[in-house]
Amino acid sequence: MTDLTSSLPTETAPEDQGKSESARLGFWLTLPTQLLVLFIALFPILMQLYISLTDWSPLDGIPWYRAYELWIGLLNYIDLWNDPRFWGAMWRTCIVMAICVPAQFLLGLGLAILFVDEFPGKRVLYSTALLPMMVVPAVAGYMFFMLFQSGGPVNNILSFFAGSPVTIAWLSDPNLALFAVILSDIWQWTPLMFLILLAGMVSVPQDQQMAAVLLGASWWRRFRTIVLPRMKTIIIIAIAIRVIENFKVFDNFYIMTGGGPGVATETISIHIYKVTQQDLIWGYVAAMALAILIVLSVVSGLAISRMRKAS
């Protein structure tokens, strides 16, 4: 097990055959990827920067490169700063993250503890537990859409326990809708936490734990002082992955509610999508997207350099 950053520094080429052949080969081998990255990163970001300084929309009837005719300078960025719907979507994305990630982590950790040692049936149960994660997210969204219909199975189960018909309109009540979409995310991605945490837990060496058992340490004490500290890197990786993915969340949310009712489940990706497709103010979208890219670059750059220093 190595962490992300320690594999970053480049390894020196083998001494033989002369450096020039290796260098030439290295160049040609990495060329396609370099080109694709340039194609998707450099050019689009410059284009985005340019458009973000204009009031351009595809409906204006002029091509994007003539967007300077609609130059408005930094106005889009000022509007963005004062846009309550944008900040609302940001805030909602944070709430979703703040609920989903800890819930997935705790459930995944609990499940990993149950699976860490051998027991009959482990393989089958393990594969079954991973199932939700492999379902196409849009399809998962549709599954939960069906479950939470007012005449659907969730209300059916609740009716059974309540003894009288329950007809809660889950997806048209703002708070309940948020609850339902969060539940779908927890359902789908708890297995991922479980998978990663279990792999980490299995790799903790047994000898120290055995020694602690002989010394009479309780399970909880062993777990807290031996297992958890050794899993630190893995826990950080697992949580980082879910935070990143949760920030992008779109598919299941959009299928279930379309961001509604109102803006109750509108996360940042859904917000950008709606402004792109429905309001069609692309200059503004470009400003919003670029602002997010810059913030993410700074944050991730800081995080990566800190991780590098730590290792």
Binding site: D3, L8, Q17, Q34, V37, M47, L147
Partner: protein, 286 residues
């Protein structure tokens, strides 16, 4: 480690409870897919958990045969979207694997690439929605809107970081003695890569490709933005399956959802051992 009987009981109970909750959504969709219209339209107290008269009508319906009790006939059937998903995901995987594998080899053996690894991590970090405006403009300029090849290209780029990092860890793990021996024998570097390294990497290439195919196949957002009619993929087509006359076509959608769900589940089980490596960018190997 020896555990007590009560712990074993607790373990199985807890796992059973978790699995039951986690399987309900999937089982409900499977059940809906095989229900005749009268059963999937039922709600509230009339709901049945399992199809009482199981039928393949929903599958026939989405492939264009008119179902006896549904008045509507589909304007477009599921065949084309399935083809679109297959083509775009497959060729996207090929692009990602081709570029990613060669770059990973270049970095792993010759230290080439400079800041490429970091750039690829960042590429993965950004929400696709945040670069979609320029991508839509560029794709329109290149005539690639609503085409499977346009989708394949963007899929290839989006999943390239995974291909690169996965293959890099596999190359790093591979012992170099065999390559070195071949070099001493007088093989050129290219020949060693093509004739010795790549064939040895076949299992790694296969599992990486399957992993990337799952990611491509699972996309919804990008296809929603870049396809409009002729080459919509399964998830986009599925979302459009509702008409004003029948409302939500639950059964038909469930049947389509089942078709979409099966390939990644089978592939995911096949590459279970490599999932951790793939999902953590190769940082964690099982």
């Amino acid at each position: 480690m020896q555990r007590s009987l009560s712990f074993e009981i607790f373990r199985y109970t807890a796992i059973a409870l978790f699995l039951a909750l986690s399987l309900i959504p999937t089982l409900w969709m499977v059940s809906m897919a095989f229900k005749p219209i009268a059963e999937w339209q039922a709600s509230g107290a009339d709901l049945t958990w399992w199809p009482e008269n199981p039928t393949l009508d929903n599958f026939r319906f989405i492939f264009g045969q008119s179902a006896s009790e549904l008045i509507v006939a589909l304007e477009r059937t599921a065949g084309r979207p399935i083809l679109a998903s297959l083509l775009s995901a497959t060729f996207g995987t090929l692009i990602a694997m081709f570029a990613g594998t060669s770059a990973a080899y270049g970095l792993s053996r010759f230290g080439a690439g400079g800041n490429l690894p970091l750039a690829l991590v960042q590429l993965r970090l950004f929400p696709p929605m945040a670069v979609m405006i320029p991508v839509m403009i560029m794709w329109a300029f290149l005539g690639m809107i609503d085409s499977w090849w346009g989708l394949a290209l963007i899929y290839g780029i989006v999943t390239l970081p995974f291909a690169f990092w996965l293959m890099k860890t596999f190359f790093d793990d591979m012992p170099r003695e065999i390559e070195d021996a071949a070099l001493v024998e007088g093989c050129s570097r290219w020949r060693v890569f093509l004739r010795i390294t790549l064939p040895m990497m076949r299992p790694a290439l296969a599992s990486s490709a399957l992993f990337i195919f799952i990611l491509n196949w699972s996309d919804y957002l990008i296809a929603l933005l870049l396809t409009t009619r002729d080459w919509v993929t399964i998830p986009v087509y599925m979302a459009s399956l509702s008409s004003s006359m029948t409302g939500q076509l639950y059964g038909a959608k469930a049947a389509l959802g089942l078709i979409a769900a099966v390939p990644p589940v089978i592939m995911g089980i096949a590459i279970q051992k490599q999932l951790v490596r793939g999902l953590t960018f190769g940082a964690l190997k099982e």
